[in-house]
Symmetry: C2
Subunit: 370 residues, 2 copies
């Protein structure tokens, strides 16, 4: 029987295990699980998926975190060869990974290295990202649940601030999203009135100067008596040093621009400002996860199993929206090289200028019936 290995990599999402379940429920093969992402692949941390493990995955299909272990790991050229040797030793000729852009890039490179050393290897990617920065797909599983969390959290924190406006006037809420503004923009999805938060959203796609920020904040405080501001972690303030929390395995850990902005408000406007990172719950909250997102996460896992059987390689499963009016989609296979080679998928300018248009696009994914 054909032998297949599957792994999970990168930051988990609320639905990354749902995709794993969709794959395992569908695939007809001898399946192996790669533990702890690409590090596990290099180190041969590969186990047979038994009925017990399948049961565990099924119990965890709506549970955050990654059942197999994920993590971030940058492979050197030597390590790529080592990873392939691990597969070779086990006679595994198909590798499937659930992940984001780093994962798709790693799959692509492993495929190239395999070709170079003459090892037959099929690679298939299952998309997963809360940032929504993967190219060649309408959106990726994980994003909608994170967007739902952000929309709910910012609405509630803004309501709380409104009630506290004689004690504190400014809250600056920082979202995930890396270098793209999709998630930050989702924060306004539940806004019904001008007075509801967020009153301002700052995107990595736009230039932010301290001067404009302070003027806008001051105007909003004058107008509403309080102001709830959302900023994406990827925003940098022009002519100010950008914030880097740490660099781990070559990847910048972002976070901290909200603290910089709160300090500015305190120093320059003399107002109490609280900064708040929305934190890990954006990608991990089970309660906030979107049922549509769960459905799609399962379906892309299933689709990957079918692609494996068809023998197609160097592809990622993509979601194609076929109708906006009564949200419909179909799944397809897109070239991994195109996904990896594409430019970073920024929030388009027409959405930034007209958020309502963006929310029409977003609402069916997130599942609010408003």
């Amino acid at each position: 029987m054909r032998k297949i290995a599957i792994g999970q990599a990168g930051g988990p999402t609320a639905v990354i295990n749902t995709s794993l379940a969709g794959f395992l429920d569908t695939v007809q093969a001898d399946v192996y699980g790669v533990l702890d992402g690409f590090q596990g692949l290099v180190e041969g941390n590969i186990v047979k998926i038994t009925e017990d493990i399948k049961r565990k995955v099924d119990q965890h299909r709506d549970v955050p975190g990654a059942c197999l272990g994920a993590g971030r790991y940058q492979m050197s050229d030597d390590q790529k060869v080592k990873a392939l040797r691990q597969l070779q030793e086990r006679d595994i000729h198909t590798l499937v990974f659930i992940g984001g852009d780093g994962t798709m890039s790693a799959l692509c490179q492993l495929s190239q290295t395999a070709h170079y050393i003459g090892y037959e290897l099929q690679v298939v990617g299952i998309p997963k990202t809360v940032d929504n920065d993967l190219a060649e797909t309408d959106h990726s599983p994980g994003f909608a649940s994170a967007a739902r969390y952000v929309a709910l959290a910012v609405r509630d924190i803004s309501k709380d601030l409104e009630a506290m406006r004689n004690f504190e006037q400014v809250r600056i809420i920082e979202t995930m999203g890396r270098n793209v503004g999709w998630l930050a923009a989702a924060s306004g999805l539940l806004k019904n009135h001008e007075t509801d938060g967020p009153h301002a959203i700052y995107f990595p796609e736009q230039v932010l100067t301290a001067e404009n920020f302070l003027k806008n904040t001051n105007d909003l405080v004058q107008k509403f008596g309080f102001v709830s501001i959302v900023v994406s972690e990827g925003v940098t303030i022009q002519e100010r040093p950008s914030v880097e929390k740490a660099i781990v395995n070559g990847r910048k850990v972002l976070g901290g621009v909200s603290t910089q902005l709160a300090q500015l408000v305190h120093d320059e406007l003399g107002l109490m400002a609280r900064d708040e990172l929305l934190g890990m719950n954006q990608r991990a909250s089970q309660l906030a996860s979107s049922s549509q997102d769960r459905r799609e996460a399962y379906d892309v896992g299933k689709k990957a199993a079918l692609l494996v059987e068809e023998g197609i390689s160097k592809v990622m499963v993509a979601i194609n929206r076929t109708s906006q009016t009564d949200y419909q989609y179909r799944l397809s296979a897109v070239s991994l090289e195109k996904v990896v080679g594409g430019a970073e998928r920024h929030l388009p300018n027409h959405y930034i200028k007209d958020l309502d248009q963006y929310y029409q696009w977003l609402r069916p994914l997130v599942g609010f019936d408003l």
Copy 2:
């Protein structure tokens, strides 16, 4: 018709509006709303509760934030007299406030000042706190929803960390709770196995030394490969300066001990450690709110209306648990002076030593059926 004023004060909770709705649905009187807490009372920001406002409150009964506006405000003696004059001008002889210990203390003082200047004033308090530090009641509305949020968030963040253990090993999650550990302790409510987070909880009721913290953290990392740690905002590290974010209106804004602890892990153990404040969603998350908490919040509002009609003064509504096995409670009136004069309500030592016992007490309030 008798004239009554009601206000909300302190940090809002997910159910503070539910208590307001319970009161307004029940009370038979000409009701006035005090806007923005005690500041509004002093400044005469008092409006008649019209049918429109009642409808708005009803629509907001499950919505976070405080419909009337709350905020923190410390009245001087002169301001107390001013507050009473505002009531006198409107011929209002009953004042009801929904709030925590600061609110109960303010009501007590207003009652004393009224007595001193010969103004007839009935005062009734409706309990509300996420910290659960109010004395003379089994627990207070708002706490169970916050506890539910903390339990869910810490479970999910810990699952996420477990999946990321080859990238980062330590997360330090900071909860609200001021000087008492009830909320921090709730973080372990959904823990099923030894490997599930949180692996350690630090309470304000106990002494924490850097040495013990580091040893314990190191042991846990050795044992599990990762460690999810919860710390209450009120914890101080012995012989280290305590963290004070700010002092506003005489009240310390806590928060920051998780950052201190993460720095210690980084400096002394050489591990990547992320600190995370659970933030305002602890008291504002609508999604995480407990249905039992909502029921009780409504009932204490209703009970306050009945106490007003009975003419009883200087009391707070209290929840008395009458049965633990099949959770039952009844409401009563307790002396405001006793509430205010009581010692801070710490998490008892027998709960700290045996958290399962605490979780038996907590579970019916939070509503997990596990």
